[in-house]
Homo-oligomer: 415 residues x 2
Amino acid sequence: MADHRPKVLIIGAGFGGLECARALKNAPVAVTVLDRHNHHTFQPLLYQVATAAISPADIAWPVRSILRRQENAEVLMCSIKSIDTKARIVHASRHDLPYDYLVLATGVTHSYFGHDEWQEAAPGLKSLTDATKIRSRVLISFERAETAETDADRKRLLTFIVVGGGPTGVEMAGAIAEIARHALRYDFRHIDPSSARILLIEGGPRILPTFPEDLSAYAQRALEKMGVEVMTSSMVTDVRRDGVSLGDKKIESEAIIWAAGVVAGPAANWIDAAHDRAGRIKVGKDLSVPGHLEIFAVGDIAALDPPVPGIAPAAKQMGKYVGRLIAARVEGRPFDKPFRYRHAGDLATIGRKAAVVNLPYLKLKGFIGWLFWSLAHIYFLIGVRNRLMVALTWLWSYFTYQRGARLITRDEPRN
Amino acid sequence: MADHRPKVLIIGAGFGGLECARALKNAPVAVTVLDRHNHHTFQPLLYQVATAAISPADIAWPVRSILRRQENAEVLMCSIKSIDTKARIVHASRHDLPYDYLVLATGVTHSYFGHDEWQEAAPGLKSLTDATKIRSRVLISFERAETAETDADRKRLLTFIVVGGGPTGVEMAGAIAEIARHALRYDFRHIDPSSARILLIEGGPRILPTFPEDLSAYAQRALEKMGVEVMTSSMVTDVRRDGVSLGDKKIESEAIIWAAGVVAGPAANWIDAAHDRAGRIKVGKDLSVPGHLEIFAVGDIAALDPPVPGIAPAAKQMGKYVGRLIAARVEGRPFDKPFRYRHAGDLATIGRKAAVVNLPYLKLKGFIGWLFWSLAHIYFLIGVRNRLMVALTWLWSYFTYQRGARLITRDEPRN
């Protein structure tokens, strides 16, 4: 029996793609969500996997499981080869998939500003694989420092560099400081982990540039109190496996983490669309791609005018908007209001009990900020089990300073 | 200030090695535990990581953290190049480590009975890396079956083969059956996961050969009730990436798991010691290596006469014995009782609520057996946090049939 429902293909099972699928729940369409991975990743907490606080399974959930009760949706794990926008067919790794509506929600990855060769030395943080790789680098640095034969080696191995002072960079630097000062404190015999040097390097004049100045200043003070050296107005000019350069200045380190910039994947090229310098697809007021009423871009891959921040709530709002638009169009209902982004606020946490929260009518910092941040993140985690596990893990590490997931499981060279 | 305490090197942070280190806690010695990994793995529950029930961090714990309060012990993450038994030096990846006492506790790995080429097609289950690899294979088979284009492909992709009917094989087969029958039940649109064929292939006349016959028979009935086909007296004669052969009979599958035999690592060769066919080092009544009063082998790597089963309690008993012996010798106390193994019993679980338990004065099966099995494993898990997390995860999946850790995180080819 042929399926005559209009076909909606959604590429990417991040916040935008999933929210779009959900908004189509009651529409007379056949939804297919495509993703390279079998799981949705809760990216706001990836840094906690990278810093050994929680396990990958606590912040990731199988896409199939999320959509199991939505009968008009199916899930396909595949990669995209090309898209034929004339014939309206997506050529995926093993299948050719026709569509009536196409939603691009492929997100962004790290940008090395034209220096892709830096990637090997300074991994970014966008996937679970990235997170476990960074975790291994950080933990192996301590392991190797324990047996270092010269002071220079030991110093290099106990230097940790985070490039980029946005929320991810701030969270990473704070978490590494906690590992060094608390979690590993009694584990070694020949080094003192709390003597580790943790650098947060930001090119602009202040960290957390999207926050008000007083919260930026508070975050910097909080980090410094934890022992993080914050370097602002400092441009990284070279990155190697054994350190970074800031102009003439060289800093040796074997654990460098990149949190400095993002770039869109190849989605704009798939459909030959106009894009900005970061590869984001320029979209109209209804998030459709100019010249293609049936193709939409949502989340970080979409370039709006005025711009919208690259955060989960923005991606969700876009996904929901496009889902509703497609549902209306399929059902022949009018739907002509443009997409309007409502900014709910910014959050960033700095270690175990400090955070900065900037909502329209509410600014919080310190412990109360941290509580708010924790509750917000637990609330948005998908699935009862994940919420419970993350809450318990946080409680546990709050009271004990322990980090449960301190496993080196990647096959990194270590000899 | 030079350290004049006798140096005890323990190679391997499994059950035997760690128990030996602990038994030396109050002895006037300097203990160093060497391991390739930074974590101790609770191997009895590895199959639960492989079958997506729990996360790697729930059953592994950093070795440093386990020994952090034992002041006379340190931990080194390294691999072994060679051992000079005359000069009493272990040549490790970056260091030369002199010893006064050497304890080999390196365990065993899977044996393919001379067919090492089978390893790629049929991974075994001895490490966290193995476990995540098997998990990916199993889950990817379902993913690919969902989009298979022919019935033959679909049938092959929905066939799961476990080779070896010992406790690990029984536990794996039971867990895969539960995934197919329950956890994935509503996740797919084009296949019915519960139609998956799960085969448990055993060369001998019955599964669980170390258990009494009635418990073997019960386990087989329980597995069959869950939909596992149990094939006894069946020898696998070939293993390929797309299936196995049993003599003339071929069975197609892309998810084959090896649980059929074990072989010791190269430890016997390091010290040029007499060993049995599986590479286990022949030891004397005091677990020392003949000709070397200062070298001991404990756990699975030791070949005793009469033989001792390759299970965690046996390794722990040996580790403790050798630790006490070394402590006595260093302190000049007499210690001449030989090692005596006390068999506490055998446990194996078959899915969500059946297990077989065979203790000297107690045989259990069914739900009561499962409760006993659960409590015993939670009791022996290292660390309060791990016990709590595993207990909660089991409770959760007991009531919901869900499996939280269904992530495909290995970079396996899938197209």
